[in-house]
């Protein structure tokens, strides 16, 4: 096998692994959208906020330290303790659930029945709010997040695969963190699917997704379900935040993974869980391969910024309902 071909395979594998992460973020969107019709643009910022909170708690930072110091002229920064990773993750989850509750109580409860596009714009507002809040609480400097995940390229894979090509081929370079992330994302995706299919809450969630009125009339609390899905989305965001944060530090750009997930959703359809997964993989692989084969050699590179969108756009023009959506019959 030629080295070029093998490097192509390597790109493909890396694309698949990126795709799983996209799928994970996209799944956060789908969960909220199915249950409440809200297209949550703030999903990415939630990931950033989750990661920020986690690093803050782990290193014992004082929330709002910056603000307190500026107002009272004090110099507090740190409680002077460190919280172990697992404990910090648990605490962060509590924070995310509180956040879910507040979002429901103060924002979306008042917007029930509004047009989807109004809800969408409200989540853009939420994204700004949360981004500012995260910065106010924990500061906006880039932070390192180390929850003990393995880092660096895997020698093992490299050594095993080095024999496949000729002298020009040094084996597949695959990041260990990516491998762990893929594994975690896959587990999370599967457990979420199981949750929504086989548990009582999951059934209630699907009922709410189908028809609010009908769900209410059989005794399902909409408020409870909505808080539940926002919490789940918070969990998904936190996991995505940890993976991305461990890789490239916790900083503003982390929130941009939401922008990666949007075309995934357009491709897969906003309501389809398998759609989110398959769409994520297609876009992950597609953008890496496009960059490798066409973008970098012919177009000056950095095509990942727009490729996914243009692909989704072209796809939608021909199939407006997405990959797995049903054909739309319009009525008057």
């Amino acid at each position: 096998m030629s080295a070029d071909f093998l490097y192509g395979i390597e790109v493909l594998i890396n694309g698949l692994m990126a795709g799983v992460l996209y799928a994970l973020v996209a799944l956060g969107f789908v969960l909220i959208y199915k249950a409440s019709g809200i297209f949550n643009y703030a999903q990415g910022v939630m990931a950033l906020f989750g990661a920020l909170t986690l690093t803050g708690i782990m290193s014992g930072q004082v929330p709002f330290a910056h603000l307190i110091n500026a107002t009272f002229g004090t110099h507090i920064h740190n409680f002077g303790w460190n919280v172990p990773a697992l404990g910090a993750i648990a605490l962060t989850l509590v924070v995310m659930v509180c956040f879910a509750w507040m979002v429901q109580k103060f924002v979306f409860r008042h917007l029930v029945g509004q047009e989807p596009i109004i809800l969408f714009m409200a989540t853009i507002g939420l994204a700004y709010f949360l981004e500012g809040m995260g910065d106010l609480m924990w500061g906006s400097d880039i932070k390192k997040l180390d929850v003990g995940l393995p880092q660096g390229g895997s020698r093992w894979v490299e050594d095993i695969t080095a024999g496949l090509g000729g002298d020009d081929f040094y084996g597949f370079f695959i990041d260990k963190l990516d491998m762990v992330a893929t594994l975690v994302a896959a587990i999370l995706v599967i457990s979420l699917v199981m949750f929504s299919q086989y548990t009582k809450q999951g059934r209630a969630m699907r009922a709410v997704a189908d028809d609010h009125q009908a769900a209410l009339s059989v005794g399902i609390s909409l408020n409870y379900i909505w808080i539940l899905v926002w919490s789940l989305a918070g969990l998904v965001a936190l996991v995505a935040g940890i993976m991305w944060g461990a890789k490239s530090g916790v900083q503003f750009s982390l929130s941009l993974i939401a922008l990666k997930a949007l075309p995934v959703l357009m491709l897969g359809g906003f309501t389809s869980i398998p759609g989110a997964i398959v769409g994520g993989l297609i876009i992950g692989v597609g953008e890496k391969l496009f960059e490798y084969l066409i973008g970098a050699p012919f177009l000056g590179g950095a095509t990942e910024n727009w490729f996914a969108y243009v692909l989704a756009l072209i796809f939608l023009v021909f199939r407006p309902q997405g990959l797995f959506g049903e054909k739309i019959i319009e009525r008057v």
Partner: protein
């Protein structure tokens, strides 16, 4: 006075019980079949609508009546069959082009533009009479301005006719149901249509409102000579208003003729009217 439907030639007219002259065939639907996926909403239906008449389509819920109107207004394209309008076979036509040929309609669930005033809603009905271009309108120069005033005058006549002067500038979203229905009629009338399609114009109205609406429908037909096709559930209204009635059930036509003929049609009684056999 009324001829059997089958024996009337397409170009001939007839005279109704109240002495109105009805012309030749205006809209002719031939063997229309409409499917959604595997479901046949309309199965091989043919009927015609004649110049100047009031034609009713009745039938139980889900019989395919609204789908039929949607076929006439070009919103649904039937898989089989032909639509003949004014003596020519209509090629596949976009709904807005159908509207511009002079077919206006109202909707079962009111489809007004909620964010606009009554006046603006009715003015949208005049689109087929307005042709000034983007640039003329951008500068509000020449045709754009004169056209606006002329059409406004025409719209005011409709507003007078339907007695909705006092709510002209009110946003439609604030109006009660009955008035909305009337504004919708005004919007359809503003187009000065040759054929007016009314989808359950009296649904959800009380007796008094129904009487008002019936009067408007008769007046429209009488004063403007507009041909009207309507869907309605209130049998009393249908029998009083219409010249001829088509009865649909499960996507099939089970009866067609004068109200008198339809009322005595066995199949219609079984499927819909539900009068006991005695």
């Amino acid at each position: 006075m009324m001829l059997e439907n089958q024996t009337l030639a397409p170009s001939d007219g007839y005279v109704t019980a109240d002495g109105r002259q009805i012309g030749g065939v205006m809209m002719d639907l031939r063997n229309i079949t409409l499917r959604f996926g595997g479901v046949e909403a309309i199965k091989d239906i043919s009927f015609d609508i004649r110049e100047g008449e009031i034609r009713a389509i009745i039938g139980p819920n889900g019989a395919g009546k609204s789908s039929m109107l949607n076929v006439i207004s070009g919103f649904y394209v039937p898989q089989e069959g032909e639509v003949w309008f004014n003596g020519a076979k209509r090629p596949p036509t976009k709904p807005y082009q159908v509207a511009r040929q002079g077919i206006a309609r109202t909707f079962q669930n009111i489809a007004l533009f909620e964010g606009m005033s009554v006046l603006d809603n009715v003015m949208t009905g005049r689109l087929r009479q307005m042709s000034s271009g983007l640039f003329s309108q951008a500068l509000w120069w020449g045709k754009a301005q004169t056209e606006e005033v002329e059409n406004r005058a025409a719209v005011e006549r409709i507003i007078d006719f339907l007695e909705i002067q006092s709510i002209r500038k009110t946003p439609v979203g604030r109006l009660p149901y009955g008035l909305k229905k009337r504004v919708e009629l005004a919007r359809a009338l503003a187009a000065e249509p040759h054929l007016l399609l009314l989808d359950e114009p009296m649904a959800g109205m009380n007796v008094e409102e129904k009487e008002d609406m019936s009067r408007f429908i008769l007046d429209v037909n009488d004063e403007f000579g507009t041909t009207i096709a309507l869907i309605e559930h209130d049998m009393g209204v249908v029998m009083d208003l219409s010249d001829r009635v088509v009865v649909m059930d499960y996507g099939r036509k089970i009866g067609d003729g004068t109200p008198e003929e339809v009322r005595n049609n066995e199949a219609v009684i079984d499927a819909y009217l539900g009068v006991s056999h005695d």
